[in-house]
């Protein structure tokens, strides 16, 4: 039987007269990567904030690892970690100090070893003793995700992990997220990009107008898309493809 880690029933939330969530239902099994896909302002962050106990819903209920988010928030907080929309790293501390800080707060005993281990895993060993202020966007996000893994939480929330990153950094973060899924963590990811959901997620839910309008695996969703047509058009490369191609050649030249 599928082991359900996150169960959401009829979740509702409004801000003043604006109904952001109008009854959201979904469930996520252990070890799954679940993507909430939606445009800006669709309510993705509101769902993440409610599930991570930062905000109370107006109606409905949700369970994480069997704990009720409204009545047992302390228990829920022990099972989750949040990587918010803006990388919440302390820019004045070094990368290593950032991870050690979270480890101390989570009561991890061998925090120095935990920090070194995570820095190594996220390719940040070299920059470990530099202040996070000098990190690139991709490095900051990787540090941010590394901080979320301290103490091996069962559930990880990644709220738009690649928004605002350049294409190269985005691919870096994708690689990181894919590696996380290998660890058996359950991941709830929000994104504005179909491609990102396609790349990373086992299950995709599309959030629109305060409701989840479709929900399933990528293959299931693809059946709902308009059937493929054969058309001949000249495909212009996107700026992103041009950029990656140039960076790629530069790297080869320098090697």
């Amino acid at each position: 039987m599928r082991d359900i880690v996150i169960q959401v029933n009829d979740l509702r939330k409004s801000f003043k007269s604006n109904d952001v969530l109008k009854g959201i239902d979904f469930e996520i099994g252990r070890g799954e990567i679940f993507a909430l896909l939606g445009s800006n302002g669709a309510g993705k962050t509101t769902i993440v904030n409610i599930l991570s106990t930062l905000m109370k819903p107006d109606g409905g209920s949700a369970n994480i690892c069997g704990y009720d988010i409204i009545h047992q928030p302390e228990k829920v907080r022990q099972s989750i970690s949040l990587t918010g929309q803006f990388a919440a790293v302390d820019s004045i501390l070094t990368g290593r100090e950032n991870i050690m800080l979270i480890a101390k707060l989570r009561g991890v005993k061998n925090y120095a070893a935990v920090a070194d281990n995570l820095l190594e895993r996220f390719g940040l060993s070299e920059a470990a003793n530099k202040r996070a202020a000098v990190y690139s966007g991709g490095m900051t996000r990787r540090l941010d995700i590394a901080m979320s893994l301290v103490g091996n939480p069962a559930v990880i929330f990644l709220d738009e992990p690649t928004t605002g990153l350049d294409p190269e950094a985005r691919i870096e973060v994708w690689k990181t997220v894919k590696e996380l899924s290998g660890n058996g963590s359950t991941i709830l990811l929000t994104t504005q990009y179909l491609e990102e959901a396609e790349q990373l997620a086992d299950k995709i839910a599309i959030l629109h107008g305060g409701k989840i309008i479709v929900h399933g695996t990528l293959d299931e969703l693809k059946k709902l898309f308009p059937s493929a047509k054969e058309e001949y058009i000249i495909k212009q490369p996107t700026l992103e493809e041009i950029f990656l191609a140039i960076i790629g050649t530069k790297k080869e030249e320098s090697q």
Binding site: N49, S52, T53, L54, M55, E74, R77, Q78, I80, S81, L82, G84, Q85, F86, A87, A88, V89, D90, S91, I92, L93, E97, L101, I102, K104, L105, R106, R131, M147
Partner: protein, 250 residues
């Protein structure tokens, strides 16, 4: 408790690594002190009681300014934590939610105490002497700490609700200027009637008068109770609104 200290350690690292904040919290009041003592001091002296040393007379007002400058940076650190999502990160972790707030309060008081000690040092260099007993010094320290606690809770409110960095810091200006319109730098007797009424009834005056009396080894009379009432009263109101703002933003 343990988490509060871990987070307090983090903020102290911030203060140590950005010495510009503590320097400006220190240099500006000290510059104002030098300005008053050397530029206006000679003229003001004429209206002071006989034998009163002006360095000693204006020092309590400067101490209050030092605390006001320090707490404005506490508001700023708070604003940055909120803005960068660091509060959200801590609040989604299994730690007591008030510990991050208390860490800010402790860090603010610690930096105030540090800059106050330096200010006393500068005052000693330019001729401040006091025959106060240990008990009187202890009372001065207690009042300054209480005042620092009061102002920190006040500074937390704009730190939490401000939409911009300027807004988070703007609150500090009235507090920094309030001592100027009190008996801190000149006797209120020489002021126009309306200003005098304000100066004699605003919170800075009893605080300044109490510290001044303690440093002068004079009887403190009722002023200390009025000073304490102001501090505790403002703190309770500020604490209530700070907690409300804190709970609302999470």
């Amino acid at each position: 408790m343990k988490n509060t200290f871990t987070l307090f350690g983090r903020l102290m690292t911030h203060i140590i690594r950005s010495p510009d904040t503590i320097m400006s919290a220190m240099i500006q009041p000290i510059a104002i002190m030098l300005l008053f003592v050397y530029v206006f001091g000679g003229a003001i002296k004429a209206s002071l009681p006989d034998g009163m040393n002006y360095v000693k007379y204006q020092l309590p007002g400067i101490l209050i300014m030092v605390i006001a400058y320090n707490t404005s940076y506490a508001g700023l650190r708070m604003f940055n934590d909120k803005q960068k999502g660091i509060f959200n990160r801590f609040n989604s972790m299994p730690i007591n939610r008030s510990s991050s707030l208390w860490a800010h309060v402790l860090a603010s008081i610690t930096s105030s105490i540090f800059t106050l000690v330096i200010t006393f040092g500068v005052a000693l260099l330019i001729g401040f002497r006091s025959g106060a007993s240990i008990l009187e010094w202890f009372a001065v320290a207690a009042i300054l700490t209480l005042f620092s606690l009061t102002l920190t809770w006040t500074a937390i409110i704009p730190g939490l609700v401000a939409k911009s960095i300027e807004g988070a810091q703007f609150y500090a200006f009235p507090v920094i200027f309030l001592p100027l319109f009190s008996s801190a730098f000149a006797p209120t007797e020489t002021m126009p009637k309306a200003l005098r009424l304000f100066a004699e009834n605003q919170p800075m005056t009893p605080i300044v008068e109490t510290i001044r009396a303690l440093l002068n080894c004079e009887p403190i009379g009722n002023e200390i109770w009025i000073a304490l009432a102001w501090c505790v009263g403002i703190m309770i109101v500020a604490w209530f609104f700070a907690m409300r703002a804190y709970k609302r933003q999470i």
